[in-house]
């Protein structure tokens, strides 16, 4: 619209590049640290690019036996990271599945039949305002009563419950975009309303449902507070496990922490870029659509 002077354009590019560097630097640092051997963790001036890059940290996480007898300082990681990774996978997948299934049903109800009343959406939003930690405390009391602490069921239940409002909200905004007339036309052709939804609307929102599912998956995978509060030592997820890398002799084990961080973030980055277009809609509860 405006013809920029070259100076202005240069400045603009500089600003963009600066923003990119700022955004990428911490991630770069985490990935770089994950390849550093122990002697490069705490030097001053700090090492930016490891001079002796190594896979030790990853091996410590995934295959400690391969480290036995290696030349570097002997740090034993308490347990391998396979269990937490598997736990995170199971819990996130189940919670996402239930959240999206129940959420779709409820969203259909709220969208087409105003189930739950006119103020249901407002109620849902208010639920987000309540600090989760305050709910976690009585939940722990309830869970210990029901022997659900540190179980898969307990965490899946908690995650499903806390992503349901978001799920309902998002899916409802997608269903709202499909005009009712299509379903009514299907009904005129002899389908029941449920089948009309299933055969007509559902295929139209399938892509959106996938995006919602991935979004909720990302939220579940990154969840920390409930994983911390509602589990004991037996069941850990990836997010909690990162804090466990602490040894009496070497202090915090930055290398394995960075390695686990890198590993656990890869799926999130991957899914995040897949649903890039829908991220804004998801994180603003469907209020802003592209």
């Amino acid at each position: 619209m405006y013809q920029s002077s070259t100076l202005l354009r240069m400045l603009k590019w500089l600003a963009v590049i600066a923003a990119m560097c700022f955004a990428l630097f911490p991630i770069f640092w985490m990935v770089s640290t994950s390849f550093k051997p122990i002697q490069e963790w705490s030097t001053y001036p700090p090492v930016w690019i490891p001079r002796q890059p190594t896979l030790e940290n990853y091996l410590a996480l995934l295959n400690p036996a391969a480290l036995a007898g290696s030349h570097s300082i002997d740090y034993k990681v308490a347990e391998t990271a396979w269990r937490p990774l598997l736990n995170s996978l199971i819990i996130s997948t189940s919670a996402t599945f239930f959240s999206v299934c129940f959420g779709t049903l409820a969203a259909y109800g709220v969208s087409r039949y105003k189930s739950g009343g006119e103020s249901y959406p407002m109620f849902v939003l208010t639920v987000r305002m309540f600090p989760p930690i305050a709910v976690a405390v009585p939940m722990l009391v309830m869970y210990s009563f029901l022997h659900l602490t540190g179980t898969y069921v307990g965490l899946v239940l908690a995650y499903t419950a806390f992503t349901l409002p978001l799920s309902i909200w998002m899916i409802r905004s997608f269903i709202d975009e499909i005009p009712r007339e299509i379903e009514e036309a299907a009904v005129v052709y002899g389908l029941s309303s449920i089948r009309a939804f299933w055969r007509v609307t559902f295929p139209l929102i399938r892509g959106a449902l996938v995006a919602t599912a991935l979004f909720i998956y990302i939220l579940n995978w990154s969840e920390f507070l409930f994983a911390l509060s509602l589990t004991n030592g037996a069941l850990t997820t990836v997010t909690v496990q990162v804090s466990n890398y602490f040894s009496a002799s070497s202090g915090q084990l930055y290398g394995p922490q960075a390695a686990l961080g890198t590993l656990s973030t890869i799926p999130v980055i991957f899914f995040g870029y897949l649903i890039q277009r829908h991220l804004v809609r998801g994180l603003t509860f469907g209020a802003i659509k592209r």
Binding site: F22, P26, V137, E184, V187, S193, G261
Partner: protein, 319 residues
């Protein structure tokens, strides 16, 4: 044969056509059935503990008091009074959290808006730049906090860069100085979520009516006038929405605080969530934390209404 099929299907169709626009009396059951599974989960896991919380907040129960929670001694509003007037630490945590919310949101929106304006026009590798800038949003928050822990250590690159910029060896003890410890926490929050503001505002900017903008430029508006008089009012709703959504989320901030400082040297970075964690899971003052939870809900509601009221009045007046 055909006649009966036709007659039946007409009856079916009539009965089922009503299913799309139900009268409340006829179809309450169906509508209710749809949300039953979701409601069961929500009721048991969210609503019940919240009600339990409400009950507990009016008592003085702790797990060590020897009775079951439903037999706890009733105390009316003693907890709330204590929190508001008697508990220094809670008030400090509340104010500190408010500070983080205000500073965080202000920074996120201003940086996000500036970036969005930069991306208004097209330029080569725009897509790549956007992908790079939104990467922070897709890092697991705990890992982002850990990365910032490594950055802000005494021997970390931030101190190194400060030394290069300032000249002589100045080392800030970012995470162990009670005055500075809040900076890394704020920075994690800003670093991770400014890209969201950026995306939201960019979406808002892209949706602006191009004709108005072109007309203004044709009529001789300068860049600044264009921004202040036309763009800003038009994206005000998006800004307000971003403000509200992000504020509500920052109020609950927990992951960075736990990972970076665990509440700070002493209690200097104790936010509301951290305070509740310590009181609930370390000191087991469960009834107290329950009361605090509801107080925080009220505070957040008040905050949101405070923001929305004058802003919606202004947009109504403009109309």
């Amino acid at each position: 044969m055909k006649a009966t099929v036709a007659a039946n299907s007409t009856r079916n169709v009539e009965a089922q056509a009503e299913g799309i626009r139900p009268t409340l009396v006829q179809h309450i059951p169906f509508a209710v059935w749809l949300i039953v599974p979701a409601e069961i989960v929500l009721l048991s896991v969210v609503v019940f503990p919240t009600l339990m919380s409400l009950w507990l907040s009016l008592t003085s129960w702790t797990p060590t008091s020897g009775v079951n929670w439903w037999q706890a001694e009733f105390q009316w509003l003693a907890n709330y009074v204590q929190l508001l007037f008697g508990d220094e630490r809670f008030r400090a945590a509340l104010l500190r959290t408010l500070l983080i919310v205000v500073v965080g949101v202000a920074a996120e929106i201003s940086i996000g808006l500036s970036l969005a304006l930069l991306f208004f026009d097209d330029f080569p590798w725009k897509k790549i730049a956007i992908s790079a800038i939104i990467l922070p949003m897709m890092i697991v928050p705990v890992d982002a906090a850990n990365a910032f822990f490594m950055l802000f250590r005494d021997v970390g690159p931030v101190n190194q860069l400060v030394r290069i910029l300032v000249g002589h060896p100045v080392r800030f003890a970012w995470l162990s100085d009670s005055n500075l410890a809040i900076v890394p926490i704020l920075l994690v929050e800003i670093w991770q979520w400014t890209p969201l503001m950026f995306l939201m505002l960019l979406t808002g900017l892209m949706a602006l009516p191009q004709n108005q903008l072109r007309a203004a430029v044709a009529l001789g508006a300068s860049r600044w006038q264009l921004f202040r008089r036309i763009i800003l009012p038009l994206i005000a709703p998006v800004v307000v929405l971003s403000l509200v959504i992000r504020s509500v989320e920052i109020f609950k901030i927990f992951d960075p605080v736990y990972i970076l400082t665990r509440g700070g040297p002493g209690t200097s970075t104790e936010t509301l969530s951290m305070w509740m964690y310590d009181n609930g899971f370390v000191y087991f003052r469960i009834a107290y934390v329950a009361a605090a939870g509801f107080l925080v809900l009220l505070v957040v509601l008040a905050y949101v209404l405070l923001i929305l009221r004058p802003l919606s009045r202004r947009t109504a007046a403009e109309r």
